[in-house]
């Protein structure tokens, strides 16, 4: 990109577009605003690219214009359905003899069309600025101590805000406790030839000291499978928020929610704040609470995402109370399949927080043989234990 500031480049590109196509430039800006309202993140650079792209093609060819805008304004296939719906509504055909918009199968992304593209369009059109969240005064130590032990299910609104603040502070603390990547290291395993030789040239070519370097830490991938049926919802939310705070120490996190069906919510959780992200998830995921079909959802996961999202350094975290209304044999089979691919499986169960808990739920009992760690997840204290477990896996 040139040294010019982006807004000035944008102005120039839009002016050029306006000179050639009149109101098209204003429409482009409006269309970009609509996309943003539909939660497609856009940068000025992308709007510039879109403007330039329109300048290069014959805009009377509706299909070409669609593709030009899509390739310059989108960064993931999942947004394509919303994009197409907005495009159809916003860029109405110019002339009656124009061919009607037809879906181009080759560019449609996988999955998400079912998550209501038309609904997103309505929201985008109707969207007004959200009210800023209110801040509450910081809590005292003893109040916080009580909070750490309190079951998430008993939280009041104030507790939720305080807990979020607590988690925001906890995550970086856990993260920095891991060994930072030190490239040059005194006792590393590998020779650092480059630095050794540099030094040798200062001493007449004699290698007086061998410098070493340490191997980079091979970081973990994480897959979260969150049960969001009924009472599990609140635990899943806290876990997800917590894990995302640890993300800088992980290679990547994929998040799925399930109840009777499985949804990949990874792209939706990319929003900057968790409050916004969860509202977004809640709005777009159907079956957020209801019955559970763990086995079937695991099967969905294994088939659709298993190969792509699970590698030799992938830890799978399942958070569920294990009450499965589906077929237990399916659950057993799919756990075995999951175990074959994953590095570790952690199962988090809020019921484990109760002293007298035994894994009586049929599903829980069926899954147990394939689980590496079975941990509670009912309060902040248990979450931080999960965090320590994860970090020790990342270090190992």
């Amino acid at each position: 990109m040139s040294l010019e500031a982006e807004p000035r480049v944008l102005d120039r590109v839009l002016a050029e577009l306006e000179a050639r196509h009149g109101s098209l430039s204003a429409n482009l800006v409006q269309f970009a605003a609509l996309l943003k309202a539909a939660e497609v993140d856009l940068t000025t650079g992308q709007i510039i690219a879109a403007g330039q792209a329109l300048g290069e093609i014959d805009i009377a060819q509706r299909g070409d214009a669609r593709q030009a805008l899509a390739s310059s304004m989108l960064t993931q296939a999942e947004d394509r359905a919303v994009f197409d719906a907005l495009f159809d509504r916003f860029w109405r055909p110019l002339a009656p003899d124009e061919e009607p918009p037809r879906p181009e199968p080759e560019t449609l992304g996988p999955g998400e069309q079912k998550l209501g593209a038309s609904e997103a369009v309505e929201i985008a059109y109707a969207r007004s600025a959200p009210a800023p969240p209110s801040e509450t005064p910081p809590q005292s130590y003893s109040a916080e101590h009580a909070l750490v032990q309190k079951d998430f299910a008993n939280y009041q609104d104030d507790d939720v805000r305080a807990a979020r603040r607590y988690l925001r502070r906890l995550a970086p603390k856990l993260a920095t406790a891991t060994v930072r990547r030190r490239r040059p290291a005194r006792a590393g395993r590998e020779l650092d030839l480059r630095r050794s030789l540099r030094r040798a040239s200062m001493t007449g070519g004699e290698v007086l000291r061998l410098l070493r370097k340490r191997r980079k830490i091979r970081r973990l991938n994480l897959v979260l499978l969150c049960d969001v049926s009924g009472s599990m919802d609140v635990y899943s939310r806290f876990l997800t928020q917590f894990v995302y705070g640890l993300q800088s120490e992980l290679r990547g996190v994929s998040t799925f929610v399930f109840s009777t069906r499985l949804f990949d919510v990874t792209p939706m959780l990319r929003a900057r704040s968790f409050e916004a992200a969860f509202d977004r998830v809640g709005r777009r995921v159907e079956g957020w609470s209801g019955g559970t079909r763990i086995g079937g959802c695991l099967a969905d996961f294994n088939r659709t995402y298993g190969r792509a999202r699970i590698g030799p350094r992938t830890v799978v975290i399942v958070i569920s109370d294990g009450w499965d209304r589906g077929d237990i044999d399916v659950l057993r089979r799919e756990m075995r399949m999951l175990k074959r691919r994953a590095f570790r499986i952690l199962w988090l169960n809020p019921l484990l927080g109760a002293k007298d808990y035994r894994p009586a739920a049929q599903g829980m009992a069926a899954a147990l043989p394939w689980i590496d760690s079975f941990l509670p997840v009912h309060n902040l204290a248990s979450l931080s234990r999960v965090g320590r477990e994860l970090m020790s896996l990342a270090r190992g």
């Binding site: 990109m1 993140d41 940068t43 650079g45 992308q46 690219a49 330039q52 792209a53 290069e56 093609i57 299909g63 070409d64 593709q67 030009a68 899509a70 390739s71 310059s72 989108l74 960064t75 993931q76 296939a77 394509r80 181009e104 199968p105 080759e106 560019t107 449609l108 992304g109 030839l193 480059r194 030789l197 540099r198 040798a200 040239s201 007449g204 070519g205 290698v207 980079k216 091979r218 970081r219 991938n221 290679r251 990547g252 994929s254 990874t266 792209p267 990319r270 294994n302 088939r303 659709t304 298993g306 190969r307 792509a308 999202r309 590698g311 399949m337």
Partner: protein, 298 residues
């Protein structure tokens, strides 16, 4: 350079790559705007093939950087040739007693090993090379940040040599199989293109071109069945490469028609996982074949 979208389509077709209008449009814009192409899609839909063909079309060299976990600057950019440097130091000693080997001698072009990124930047052919950064999802996230830096101004600073700037900006193609999400900052620098499996007509065209001499009817059956199989749940759905392999295998076996027995004998061409083969055997093959025949007729 291309003059129009049709131009791109024709040029790619001459290299036996049958691109739909959307692919051609994006390739055209990428050339016009000088932006990298970011190709995403399932394994086996022809992402890497597109960049190879693009290089052939432009008459450019293809420089390929295959990504893997732990890929770092010394593998992607440049490295000093240490053994050669050591040798140089030793030779300096034997000439006329010990003498001081200077940095300038040791860290010159002669001792520099060019890795793909540096090679692409320093290339001085008539046509800028096509730089293929393949399967970026396999590399670590730090590498993305590093790549972002290189792609933003196409210059590289080597402390011992100074800053090297590209004479002409290479044509950059980045592919991802989506085993993890690539950071948006990188994608925003690029034109994004999702490539899906080809439809029946396109796949038929590809198969007939890649396996010359294949029986028309057989090719139709193969493609129809492949289209059908991709609708089913498999761990690894068969890609275009599988279609071509299978077609070639059937040719070698002198088959001119698909029947249940033939399919069973050649299952290894279609599926790469035993789980999938078993799942396939459990399914109703005869019904699938009939369905494929019906679809083809439509």
């Amino acid at each position: 350079m291309f003059d129009s979208i049709e131009d791109v389509q024709t040029a790619l077709a001459e290299q036996r790559y049958f691109a739909g209008r959307a692919i051609a449009t994006t390739v055209f814009l990428s050339a016009k705007l000088g932006k990298p192409l970011f190709l995403e899609g399932e394994a086996g839909v022809g992402k890497t093939e597109l960049s190879k063909v693009l290089a052939a079309t432009l008459g450019a060299d293809l420089i390929r950087l295959q990504c893997y976990e732990g890929l770092d600057a010394s593998q992607a950019l440049y490295e000093w040739n240490y053994p050669k440097q050591l040798l140089h130091i030793r030779l300096g000693e034997t000439d006329s007693g010990p003498r001081k080997t200077t940095d300038r001698e040791l860290f010159s072009d002669e001792y520099l090993i060019r890795r793909p990124l540096l090679e692409a930047i320093t290339s001085d052919g008539d046509v800028p090379p096509v730089l293929l950064i393949d399967e970026i999802d396999r590399a670590d996230e730090e590498f993305e940040a590093f790549l972002l830096e290189v792609l933003s101004d196409f210059q590289i600073t080597i402390p011992e040599l100074g800053t090297i700037k590209a004479k002409h900006q290479p044509t950059v193609v980045i592919t991802s199989n989506r085993t993890r999400e690539i950071h948006d900052a990188l994608k925003r620098r690029c034109l994004y293109l999702w490539i899906d499996y080809p439809d029946f007509e396109r796949e038929y065209e590809i198969l007939r071109t890649k396996v010359p001499g294949i029986d028309e009817r057989l090719a139709g059956q193969v493609c129809a069945l492949m289209q059908q199989l991709r609708q089913e749940d498999f761990y690894k759905k068969p890609g275009i490469a599988e279609t071509i392999d299978w077609g070639a295998a059937l040719m070698a076996l002198h088959k001119d028609e698909l029947d249940a027995e033939t399919v069973e004998e050649t299952l290894g061409c279609i599926f790469k996982y035993n789980d999938d083969i078993e799942a396939f055997r459990e399914g109703n093959l005869v019904a699938l074949l009939e369905q494929a025949d019906v679809n083809k007729a439509m």
